[in-house]
Structure formats: structure tokens, C-alpha cells
Symmetry: C2
Subunit: 191 residues, 2 copies
Amino acid sequence: MTSFVIVGHQARTDGGFSLNDLPGAGRMDVLCRAVNASFFLSHDMRRDVECYLVLCGEPAPPKTIKFDGSTVRSLSPDERSAGALIKKALSTICGSEFREAGAGVWVRTGGLSRLVTELPVAVLDEKGTDIRVAPMLPDVFLLSDHENFTAGEEALISTCPRYSVGPKCLHADHTITVLANELDRRSSGWK
Amino acid sequence: MTSFVIVGHQARTDGGFSLNDLPGAGRMDVLCRAVNASFFLSHDMRRDVECYLVLCGEPAPPKTIKFDGSTVRSLSPDERSAGALIKKALSTICGSEFREAGAGVWVRTGGLSRLVTELPVAVLDEKGTDIRVAPMLPDVFLLSDHENFTAGEEALISTCPRYSVGPKCLHADHTITVLANELDRRSSGWK
């Protein structure tokens, strides 16, 4: 099982946003593409993956949405499809424990401070260890959206191992794609 | 200069489609994500990249749209942004030579049969040479959308070199992301 955790610093935490303007919903488009990158293969899905979105925007931050690849349904590759499932999750009344808002999509209140106590996260960081040379790779990867981690978030993850996917700073979804390719190669005996 | 060529087998060839339903426009969403993967870095763009979309759907197939990274403007990472530029290009009256439909976006009639006489394309293929072990990589990569190349297209590219990005069959945009990462590493002296 591989898990990807993406922090959306301005991502809306209610379901009132428009699917016609995902960037305007606190760059929800970034999170939608991260969901796509986490799960989609050509004509198949990665069922052994979980994707956590930590939404920190108004009006009710933070919330965490979990996509479970083993059970998720009704997810297509386009941004609007993931956006519609996120919107439904954010329209679901939730408390501090995960509640299923749709097949394979769960939502709860709370954010990164709790998640890092539950998952052994490794952080994607340009200065981290190159994923190609690391003898072993972790199971849980934490990424930020278009904004850097805040000082408060950095304090939460200061002792986490750090990995880099290459010499250029990439979007979160592209980073996930490169990570998944490295994991595919390792599990299949490719170099 | 690196070029990516993506064939959209059902992609609409007029500008009448809705940005609210890019999948319904012959899976235009696939091409929009390919544009994103070709150009976007975190807070930067790959200016030394060209992306060609070969659109083969109704009502006026084929057409070719070229995005030139050195001059393109008004392109954001979300699918709708690329979709809006494609829609504008397809609404532009064009002939057999490229006409600029917007900053850095060009359109002409004609498709793959002409393009392969102009560009030294290499084909992405699961059975191709692993891009990590190839001593040199080509400058032009040809990918298909969610459909396989047709028999007619395969005849056009039967003698082209073939490369693979890994053990799993990926979406076109994910393949471009992995290719770009390999090229980044090579140009930066990473393994």
C-alpha cells in the first residue's frame, strides 16, 4: 500500500464551489490532478493506493478527505470528476472520525497535525535523497500544493525523512507520477 | 528542444465544444492534460518544449495544433485553461500552413501523415527500449490518447524507434511527465 498526502493550503472546506472554476476554489484543481496521478493507469486503476487531501482553506479548516483506491468508484481522469467527489465529500456533515461520503471517499475534520501521528510520512523536498538511489522507499509521501509548507507544518514534519524526484521542482501531481513510476519499476524488477 | 506529439483519435475539430465537458469533446481532457505535462514546472514553464496535438475527430479531421513553449501565454495548469486555448485554435479559420490562433498556439489542417515527414518521431510503446537504459534519447516523442494507434497510423510509424517509460501502461500525460523527468536528470547530471 502506498499513500500520498497532499496539503491544499487555500483549498475550500465547503461544497459550495463551482466545478467550472476549480482554481478559484483555493486551487482545488491542484488536488484534483493529484488524485488523478495517484490512481490512474491506462485503462486501469492503482487499487493499492490511498490519497489524502488536507484542505486548509475557508470556511471550516482543516478537513481531510481520503480516497481509497480499493473501493473508490465513479472516478474518471478529468479534473471535474475528482472535483465532484471532493465537492460531495465537503457537503457531507462530518466529525472527527472518517465518514464515507461516497464509495471509497471519506471525510473528517482535522488536518496534518493528526495525520502525521497516524501515518509514517516522508516529505518530498528538492534537497531530499534522490528516490532512484534510496535503497528503500517509504510507503507514505507528503506533498504540498502550489504553496510551500508553512512554518507550523514544517515544525510537524521536521524529523521526517525527505526525498527528491529530480533536479527540477515539479507540481505535486507530476511528483506523484514520477514516484509511482519508480515504485512500479522496483516492484517489477526494472532498474 | 523537446517535442511531444499526441494523437487525439476522437478529439473534436471545431470549437463548438463545452469547456464544462472536455471528456465529451472526444476526450479533449486527455489532450489538455498532455499540454499541462509538457510545459509546467512548479512556478515556471518549460520554454524549450513544443507540444503538437493531432485531432482526428469530427467534424473536420484532421487538424494539428502546436503549442510553442517559448511564446505561449495565458496558459494555466488546469484542464479548462488548455481547453480554452484549443477551443480558440479550433475556432480559427486555417489552411494547410500553421496560423497563429493566440500567443504561441498555432493551428493547421492535416495530421500525422504530414507531421511524420517533418519531425523525427520516436514512439512510446510498452515494448520499446527502456528510456533509462537508452544511451541517447530522441527529441520528438509520439504518444496516443486513450486509444491505440490505428493500423494506418502504425503503418506511418513502423520504422520509428520505440521507447518505454516503465513496466506499466500509463496515460499520455503521465508518460510525458516521466519522460521529462528523465530528460531533466540527463541534462542536469543526475543519474
